[in-house]
């Protein structure tokens, strides 16, 4: 375990470097004068010249990347034009609510998906299986932004049970219960797609695992059916599903962009949309970088958990 951990941790800076490189390359796609794009048409020539020098626009691309990387390592993500604040401060402030929403959605989606997939595999080719299979197709086909609007319409507007927006700060005055009330609708909208994908893959994995010889032969040793299914079956399925769940974190973090916009959730996703609308490129860059890094860490965690579950996965 330790050797694996060290190996994976040693890889981490390389992956993050790759992520930074991709973000840098995408931002260098900006057509025209980046300084003008960042500061907008009303910037003074002096400020434009100053920014050009700061970005090193007269330098070749590799030099610019190295300089930018250097400032990243010093924790400098630049200054947001639209918010008139350091990008890093804004991004870190908004990261918490996004992680809360994504974690809630992923937890919900995982529970629902694993449950439905296992149930379908246990009742393979029976009506329950068909129902799950159909539900899974519906889940992965639903536009989450539309589902969010429908949920608002039904539960916030017509029934008035839950708030549609108004989440200001996670650690506000309302306490945990208030946060939870605000969390339900966005988390459910975001969870459904993840539940669909996880459910579909769980069903396939569970059909494989439950048909494995070692399960049949454990029964042949007189091991109780409940233990065969809940210990050997479940661990086998989990070992295969943990990386998939890690990948779903990516869909949930990406989907947060829609859901935060719809529910006015004070997270990074909404910040990104606002920043794009305001052409605040440094803010976009910082937000993307932080979200992508969070995703890389989640996947690292998923790999470590999988290695803990199945020791045959060494290296790769």
């Amino acid at each position: 375990m330790t050797a694996y951990l060290i190996k994976r941790l040693a890889m981490l800076p390389l992956v993050l470097l790759g992520v930074a490189l991709v973000v840098f390359l995408i931002m260098s796609l900006v057509p025209g004068d980046p300084a003008l794009a960042i500061l907008g048409p009303y910037a003074t020539p002096e400020r434009l010249a100053a920014l050009r020098a700061e970005l090193g626009l007269d330098q070749p691309l590799p030099v610019r990347f190295a300089r930018w990387l250097g400032s990243l390592l010093r924790g400098e993500l630049g200054h947001s034009v639209s918010l008139e604040r350091p990008v890093l401060d804004v991004v870190l402030e908004r990261l918490g609510p996004t992680l809360l929403l994504a974690a809630a959605a992923l937890a919900l989606g995982t529970l629902a998906g694993l449950g439905a997939g296992m149930l379908a595999a246990l009742r393979h080719n029976r009506p329950v299986d068909r129902l799950v299979t159909l539900g899974v197709v519906l889940g992965i086909s639903l536009p989450s932004f539309w589902l969010g609007l429908l949920l608002i319409l039904v539960f916030a507007i017509w029934l008035g049970w839950l708030p549609a927006s108004g989440m200001v700060a996670v650690w506000g005055d309302g306490g945990v219960l208030d946060v939870a009330r605000h969390l339900v609708l966005p988390a459910v909208s975001l969870a459904l797609v993840a539940a669909g994908v996880i459910g579909r893959l769980t069903r396939g994995a569970a059909i494989d695992v439950l048909g494995a010889d070692h399960l049949r032969l454990a029964r042949g040793r007189g091991v109780r059916e409940r233990r065969v299914l809940m210990v050997h079956g479940l661990k086998g399925v989990l070992a295969r599903m943990v990386p998939v769940i890690g990948l779903q974190a990516g869909f949930v973090l990406g989907g947060a962009v829609y859901i935060e916009t719809i529910f006015q959730w004070p997270g990074l996703g909404r910040l990104l949309v606002d920043a794009i609308a305001a052409r605040d490129l440094l803010l976009v860059q910082g937000g993307v970088l932080v979200l992508a890094s969070a995703y890389v860490l989640v996947n690292l965690a998923a790999d470590l958990v999988q290695h803990q579950l199945d020791r045959r996965t060494l290296g790769q």
Partner: protein
């Protein structure tokens, strides 16, 4: 058509119908009598559904909703298709180059792909649109780029599979250049894979296009697609929900249709995940206690096993009868496909799904429990006897062990299945078992995982599990076939010794007559699902009575007799299909391969009849009393 094909057909057709409901009007949009979707009419804002001329009503600018839906779907589908094609093209190129050239090219390209995959899916598209600026074309480009890694990986995998096929090597030898080989030999083989990948991603692409437009980053007014209509309608959610709900519904119908069709297509290629053969229920006979008078440990009566086959089912084990006495060591010998493994597994009702056994498998009442018909026992009774009264050692020991659990945990589990022991007693029992099978030298063995053990160690471990509760009968199913010859002898000697010492019966299933005959007192020879000869080992080895037994002996080398000529048996044993097509008792099953077959042998099937001290299923047994 099989029920499975029908079901897939149904999914595929339902999918196509849904897709057609959206795509056909979108394709025909210019021909349909629809008003201009961009025509604003402030006077007729928010007309309700069913207004003459506006079936679905109008929106906040008085534009006809139906017309906007049809034209919006047109843009959405077009953008999604273009993005899919672009992603497939670029992704396939990267995948082909990486897979075909391997080494450095592969490393460079795939590390790049890995980095792209390190981004949350939508975020990459969002960053690209942010840099290029909003607009439908940029959104399309962004979505295509975000999906390139998916295509690149899948296509690379497909190329790796075919890279070393004979026809590729042949083209190389023929002196063709790499470009020629890729275009002429590789690409055509990838087309089905790529098409299926495209079908399964198209749904995502529709959703992502709509998503970017929903955020205002895709279609810009007056241009509109389903996503931007949904985004605009958001403002009116409280007052006029239909303006937002309808475009979403169209997206849903389209994507569900695409996914249903894609699933049906993929299930065709990957049958494992799709609906498969119906589970055949094994007949649950009324549970009757077996007769008290049967001597010995086990009595098998009229055992028949049916497996599913193309013709609907075949009886591959037919009328097997035998008994095993207490402490007796019996070999069950036959070629692969003779039904010996199914017979062995049915003794514990461990048959694979879909395989059904009838007849009786009676465990005789004795100190370890009452008489039981294994095939008819209720689940609780069955669990109680498995591992406690009868233990099974499979051919491949690694298939008996869960790769995710330490071997100590699995041994403990086997012990705890029938013995409620405290931690210390459990530990002592485990150490005792490991010592018994000669695994006591490695102090850390219990904390290892199955893949860290050698084949011999795994087999000893499985034997230890089988011994855990001192069963009356141990079934060893080709338990040494996977091991090398010296280990084979060692394990067999171990099994024989343990059984003799503790007065347990042993059923040794094998294809190697000479090997098992050394370790057993009695031999049952099986052919095509029937026992053809049942005799004491020494008698059978010296003077076989059934021509098949004689032939088996003729084709196994004997130690110390290097000059003995080996004769192969001509012909093949009957296949499952042939057995399925057989009329009952049609002829002697061995007659087609038998050198001594007479016309009578082809007219009816002999029974397993006593001849002297043995039983033989032959009309004309060899002279051997």
């Amino acid at each position: 058509m099989t029920p499975r094909g029908l079901l897939q057909q149904r999914g595929a057709i339902a999918g196509l119908v849904l897709v057609a409901m959206v795509v056909l009007p979108a394709l025909a949009a210019p021909l349909l009598p629809l008003s201009d979707p961009a025509l604003t009419a402030p006077a007729s804002r928010m007309l309700p559904m069913g207004t003459p001329g506006h079936v679905l009503g109008t929106d906040q600018l008085g534009r006809d909703l139906l017309s906007r839906l049809v034209w919006g779907a047109r843009s959405s589908v077009a953008v999604a298709l273009l993005a899919t094609a672009l992603a497939a093209l670029v992704g396939a190129m990267i995948g082909i180059l990486a897979g075909f050239f391997g080494r450095l090219v592969d490393q460079l390209l795939m590390r790049g792909i890995d980095v792209l995959m390190a981004f949350p899916y939508l975020l990459l598209a969002l960053a690209i649109v942010a840099a290029l600026g909003p607009g439908l074309a940029n959104a399309m480009l962004a979505i295509a780029v975000a999906n390139v890694p998916f295509f690149a990986r899948a296509v690379r995998g497909a190329v790796l599979e075919i890279r070393h096929q004979d026809y590729i090597d042949a083209a190389r030898l023929a002196g063709h250049g790499w470009a020629w080989i890729i275009v002429v030999e590789v690409l055509p083989n990838l087309v089905p894979t790529i098409l299926i990948l495209m079908t399964t991603t198209l749904g995502w692409m529709v959703l992502e296009t709509a998503g970017l437009s929903f955020l205002g980053l895709g279609a810009q007014p007056p241009q509109a697609d389903l996503g931007s209509m949904l985004g605009d309608g958001r403002e009116l959610l409280v007052t006029y929900p239909r303006v937002a709900v309808l475009p979403g519904l169209v997206i849903l119908v389209l994507v569900v249709g695409i996914n249903l069709f894609g699933d049906a297509l993929r299930d065709r290629l990957d049958p494992r995940l799709g609906p498969s053969r119906r589970r055949e229920k094994s007949p649950m006979l009324a549970f009757t206690p077996a007769a008290e008078s049967v001597p010995g440990v086990l009595a098998v009566r009229e055992l028949r096993i049916r497996v599913p086959s193309n013709g609907g089912g075949a009886t591959v084990v037919d009328g097997v009868d035998f008994g095993i006495a207490r402490g007796e060591r019996v070999a069950l010998v036959g070629e692969s496909g003779s039904g010996k493994t199914l017979t062995a597994q049915s003794l514990l009702r461990l048959l694979p799904t879909g395989v059904a056994a009838t007849g009786r498998v009676e465990l005789v009442a004795n100190g370890s429990g009452p008489a039981v018909d294994v095939l008819a026992a209720p689940p609780a009774t069955l669990r109680d006897l498995r591992g406690r009264r009868v233990a099974y050692i499979p051919q491949e020991p690694s298939s008996a062990l869960d790769p995710l659990f330490r071997v100590g945990e699995q041994l403990a589990e086997a012990v705890r299945a029938h013995a409620d022991l405290g931690p210390r007693a459990l530990q002592r029992r485990i150490e005792l078992l490991l010592t018994e099978v000669g695994l006591d030298r490695d102090a850390h063995l219990a904390s290892r995982f199955p893949h860290q053990l050698s084949g011999g160690q795994r087999q000893r471990l499985v034997i230890a599990m089988a011994l855990a509760h001192g069963p009356d009968l141990i079934i060893a199913d080709e338990a040494t076939t996977a091991l090398d010859v010296t280990l084979q002898a060692e394990i067999l000697a171990l099994l024989t010794r343990l059984c003799t010492e503790q007065d347990r019966a042993l059923l040794l299933v094998s294809h190697d007559l000479a090997l098992v005959a050394e370790h057993c007192e009695r031999v049952l020879v099986m052919y095509a699902g029937r026992i053809v000869e049942d005799a004491a080992a020494q008698i059978l080895l010296r003077t076989p009575a059934h021509p098949y037994t004689a032939a088996l002996l003729g084709c196994s080398p004997a130690l110390g007799q290097p000059e003995k000529p080996l004769t192969a048996i001509p012909g093949q044993p009957p296949t499952v299909e042939e057995l399925g097509a057989r009329r009952p008792a049609q002829n002697c099953v061995f007659a087609p391969r038998c050198p001594r077959a007479q016309p009578a042998c082809r007219e009816h099937e002999p029974t397993l009849a006593p001849v002297g001290q043995r039983r033989v299923r032959c009309l004309f047994p060899l002279d051997a009393a």
